[in-house]
Every structure is written in structure tokens, then in C-alpha cells.
């Protein structure tokens, strides 16, 4: 894992952002549904704060602008694949411009639960053009690290059944209409997502972490990877607020 200085955009600079001002570190946790990303992010967040770093964590559909709209759109049955991709990209852009970039300017460690890669994987799993979505999401910053929690679909199934006890409509890709059975659909859809993420490992420099291991072991490996980024110790500061406009 290399640390890039300064941060760069993939293909399209975001208007109004000077990358030389971005002091913080951008760390992305990627992986399929139910792989245990949020557990690990909670652990990493606590650990990094104990180490004296200011941490912002953010994830999909949490933007002030589009979070609510996405949740509402997913309640209906009319959300098409391109619309979904673009809605999530809007959500991502809003968080990037209003949360992630300001936090990086202030020297935070930004932990992101799923980045553009999940949006891209979902889009390609639904038959959309990979090149199209790569360019659409080209305004994303290249993270310092993309830690990919990888496992086989059988392991995801056991985590879903033992954990939540039920399959989710969208995590099962029911909109793809593989059939009426949620279990079979989950398996097919998650396999497609894992395949799509696997193809990104090399071009997007993912660090692959075996997520079939016990939680503490995965965490130790994540800690090791994050330590390699040589984070500076920063005095704890409050996250910068969304810019108020009058």
C-alpha cells in the first residue's frame, strides 16, 4: 500500500477543491453486504481516536441532501438501475464536498464505509456500462487505502442467517428478478458483486483482507494496514460543520 501525497482525483477535478490543502488521510473499507464492515469501522474509529486522531466516519446514503430521498425511493418498486446508480452518486458527491473534503482540509482521518466501488459494482452487476460509471464517479478522490473485506458468498449467507435472521430485498438484488426465492437471488447477486469488486482489486489498488477470519483477527490486520499509512498525531478537533449559507 502506497501513501499518495497529495490526494488526487481519479479523472475529473471537483470544481473549487485545491488538493494541496487536503492534509488528512482517506481510508475506505469496501466489501459486499453483511461482510462485517460496520463492526470493523466502529473498532477502527475507537482505536484511532484513542491514538489521538480526529476521525470522521461516513457511509452510503447518509448525505444531508439525498439520504432521505434514496431511502424513500427504495421503499417503492420503481427504482431503475441507472436511477439508483445516479442517486447514490449524488449522495456520494454531497458527502464528498460537504463532509469528506472539509474534514481532510482539517487534517482528519476519514473512514468511509463503501466508496464509489460499491456503486460501480452494483451498477455493473445490473448490466450497466463499467466505463460509463467509472467516468461518472471520476470526481472521487483516490483514497490513501482501500481495504477490501473479501469473503465467499457462503460465508455471507451464514452471517445473514445467523446475524439478522432474514434476507433484505435490495441486498438480495430482488430488483434483478432472478426469481422469487430470496436466498437464491441473494447468492447470485452477491456473487456478481464480489466478482465486480474482484476486478477492481488491481486497477484501484485494493488491499485484500480475508473476511472469513474472526473479528479480532480482521481488526488486527486492518490496524496493521492503517499503521503503514504513518498517520500524524493530530490534536482532537471537532468535525467541521456543513457550510451555512444565507
Amino acid at each position: 500500500m502506497r501513501s499518495r501525497e497529495p490526494l488526487q482525483f481519479y479523472s475529473e477535478p471537483l470544481p473549487g477543491v485545491d488538493v494541496s490543502e487536503l492534509q488528512g488521510k482517506l481510508i475506505v473499507i469496501e466489501g459486499p453486504d453483511a461482510v462485517g464492515r460496520s463492526t470493523q469501522i466502529t473498532l477502527l474509529h475507537q482505536w484511532l481516536e484513542q491514538e489521538g486522531h480526529a476521525v470522521l466516519d461516513t457511509g452510503m446514503a447518509r448525505s444531508a441532501l439525498a439520504g432521505k430521498g434514496i431511502k424513500m425511493a427504495k421503499e417503492g418498486n420503481t427504482l431503475g438501475p441507472i436511477t439508483m446508480t445516479l442517486f447514490y452518486t449524488t449522495d456520494f458527491a454531497d458527502r464528498l464536498e460537504n463532509e469528506i473534503v472539509p474534514a481532510l482540509r482539517a487534517g482528519f482521518v476519514v473512514l468511509i464505509d463503501r466508496y464509489i466501488f460499491s456503486i460501480m459494482a452494483r451498477a455493473t452487476a445490473r448490466g450497466e456500462n463499467r466505463r460509463w460509471i467509472e467516468q461518472v464517479a471520476g470526481f472521487a478522490l483516490k483514497p490513501h487505502a482501500v481495504l477490501y473485506l473479501r469473503t465467499e458468498v457462503e460465508h455471507l449467507v451464514s452471517r445473514v442467517v445467523l446475524g439478522r435472521g432474514a434476507f433484505d430485498y435490495w441486498e438480495s438484488g430482488m430488483d434483478l428478478r432472478f426469481g422469487p426465492d430470496m436466498y437464491e437471488s441473494f447468492v447470485r447477486y452477491q456473487k456478481k458483486l464480489i466478482q465486480a469488486l474482484d476486478t477492481m482489486v488491481e486497477p484501484y489498488e485494493f488491499t485484500v483482507i480475508d473476511a472469513s477470519q474472526p473479528v479480532p483477527k480482521i481488526f488486527r490486520e486492518l490496524q496493521r494496514q492503517v499503521s503503514r499509512l504513518r498517520l500524524r498525531r493530530m490534536p482532537t478537533a471537532r468535525p467541521p460543520a456543513r457550510k451555512a449559507r444565507g
Binding site: L65, T78, A93, N129
Partner: protein, 244 residues
């Protein structure tokens, strides 16, 4: 790489473009009523009208949360929903879909807002290629006169107030619309717009539009477009979705 997906279906897609106050909506309304009276199945789609996305756009505008990038993305999300659940299925089914504003609006407006031209053009690559794109060419002062004369207050983003072009709303609107007009003019030839002189009388503009539309549709009864049985008018009430 081509800009749009070619329309290989039975139906037709007719779009109108132009700056605010160019009179395009009036003309499209006249055209669609006339096509309907000729027995064609006509559907209508307006910019920024997706029921899934509208609420997010409305909130973002009200709270002034948009940047050029998110403004561009949310409008494309709205467009995508209309494309996937409305325009495309209807064109496939053989309807004539009339769209008040299309991707070109984003190409002009978002670029005038500072978004990269290449990026916004890629964004809309899933759109189907219109059979006819009418561009209502109008001098800035004529359009501004129509808008500033009658309507309610100009809204924040319409005036491009987010760009800080001027402190006065009308002045900002003038500058911003001027930039959009420049973008339209710059792409007119490349995009194959049918240019309508929007300073002419309403009747003359409409006559030109109908001529162009008829030569596109042709009079072959087997052209595939959904049509009511001979002499009858297509049975649908204005205001009922999906076919008006």
C-alpha cells in the same frame, strides 16, 4: 464514443430546447395537442418531474444545498428515472414522446455552472437519441423581456445566484442566461438541432415545427407509431399518466 443510445424502436422522441423565455413550452404544447388530434399516441415528459427524485431536488433548492456537481447529478438522476420508467418504455411501445428539455439543457446549463463538458456529456450517455431536437433561438434581451416582464420572482438557482455572478437577482439571471445561450449556440450544429427562429409569430413557428415533424414521421401507415383507428382520436384524457 457516441453521445446517446440510438433509437431503434417504433416510437419517436421529439424534444425542445432553448433558454427560459424562448417560447419552447408553448410550441411543444401546441405540437403535442395537434399530434394527438391526428390520432397518434402522444406522451409528454417535463424536465425535473420524476416523482422519485422531485422531493430531494425541492429540498436541496429550498435549503440552497447544491454545488455545481450535485446540481448536475440530481437533475440527471431525475432524468434517468423518467428515461427508465417512462420515456423508454413508451418509445418502445410506439408512442411519440414529447420532452420539454432534454440532456442538452444539462449540457448548456451545467457547463455554464462550471461543470466539465466532457463529464456532463458522459453522464447522459444512457439517454436515447431524439429523432428531432428543436432549438428555439432567441436573442437574450427578447427572452429576458418575456421573463422579467410577467412572471413571479426568479428563483435562486434559475438566476445562477449560487455562482456569485452578481448581487442583484435580475443581473445575475441576465449573466447566467447569457452564458447558457452561448453554450446552446456553440453546440447547435454539432447536435443537429432544428433551429426555430423564436422571434417569429407563434403560428409561423408552429407551422415550421409541424412540417419538420411530418417529414420525420412520414405518411406511411406502417411506420410503427401507435395510432388510433382511422378517424378516431387517441383515447386518453389530458392529465392522466402515462399517456396524456
Amino acid at each position: 464514443m457516441s453521445l446517446f443510445v440510438p433509437n431503434r424502436y417504433r416510437g419517436k422522441l421529439i424534444v425542445v430546447e432553448g433558454i427560459d423565455g424562448s417560447g419552447k413550452s408553448t410550441q411543444l404544447s401546441l405540437l403535442s395537442h395537434w399530434l394527438r388530434s391526428q390520432g397518434f399516441a402522444v406522451a409528454f415528459s417535463e424536465w425535473n418531474s420524476s416523482p422519485l427524485v422531485r422531493e430531494t431536488t425541492r429540498r436541496g433548492k429550498k435549503k440552497e444545498m447544491f454545488t455545481p456537481t450535485t446540481f448536475s447529478l440530481i437533475h440527471c438522476t431525475d432524468f434517468a428515472d423518467r428515461m427508465e420508467s417512462y420515456i423508454l418504455p413508451l418509445v418502445k411501445a410506439g408512442a411519440i414522446v414529447c420532452a420539454d428539455r432534454y440532456s442538452y439543457t444539462a449540457f448548456a446549463r451545467d457547463v455554464a455552472r462550471g461543470v466539465s463538458r466532457r463529464w456532463v456529456r458522459n453522464l447522459y450517455r444512457f439517454a436515447i437519441h431524439p429523432n428531432l431536437a428543436f432549438y428555439f433561438r432567441v436573442p437574450l434581451d427578447v427572452a429576458l423581456g418575456r421573463i422579467l416582464g410577467g412572471r413571479d420572482a426568479i428563483k435562486y438557482y434559475e438566476a445562477g445566484m449560487d455562482l456569485g455572478l452578481a448581487r442583484d437577482v435580475e443581473e445575475s439571471f441576465r449573466i447566467f442566461q447569457g452564458r447558457i445561450l452561448d453554450e446552446y449556440e456553440a453546440m447547435a450544429e454539432e447536435m443537429g438541432f432544428h433551429i426555430i427562429d423564436a422571434t417569429q409569430s407563434i403560428e409561423e413557428q408552429q407551422r415550421r415545427m409541424r412540417d419538420i415533424v411530418m417529414s420525420e414521421i412520414g405518411d406511411d401507415p406502417k411506420n410503427g407509431i401507435l395510432h388510433a383507428p382511422e378517424g378516431g382520436e387517441f383515447h386518453a384524457q389530458p392529465g392522466t399518466a402515462p399517456i396524456l
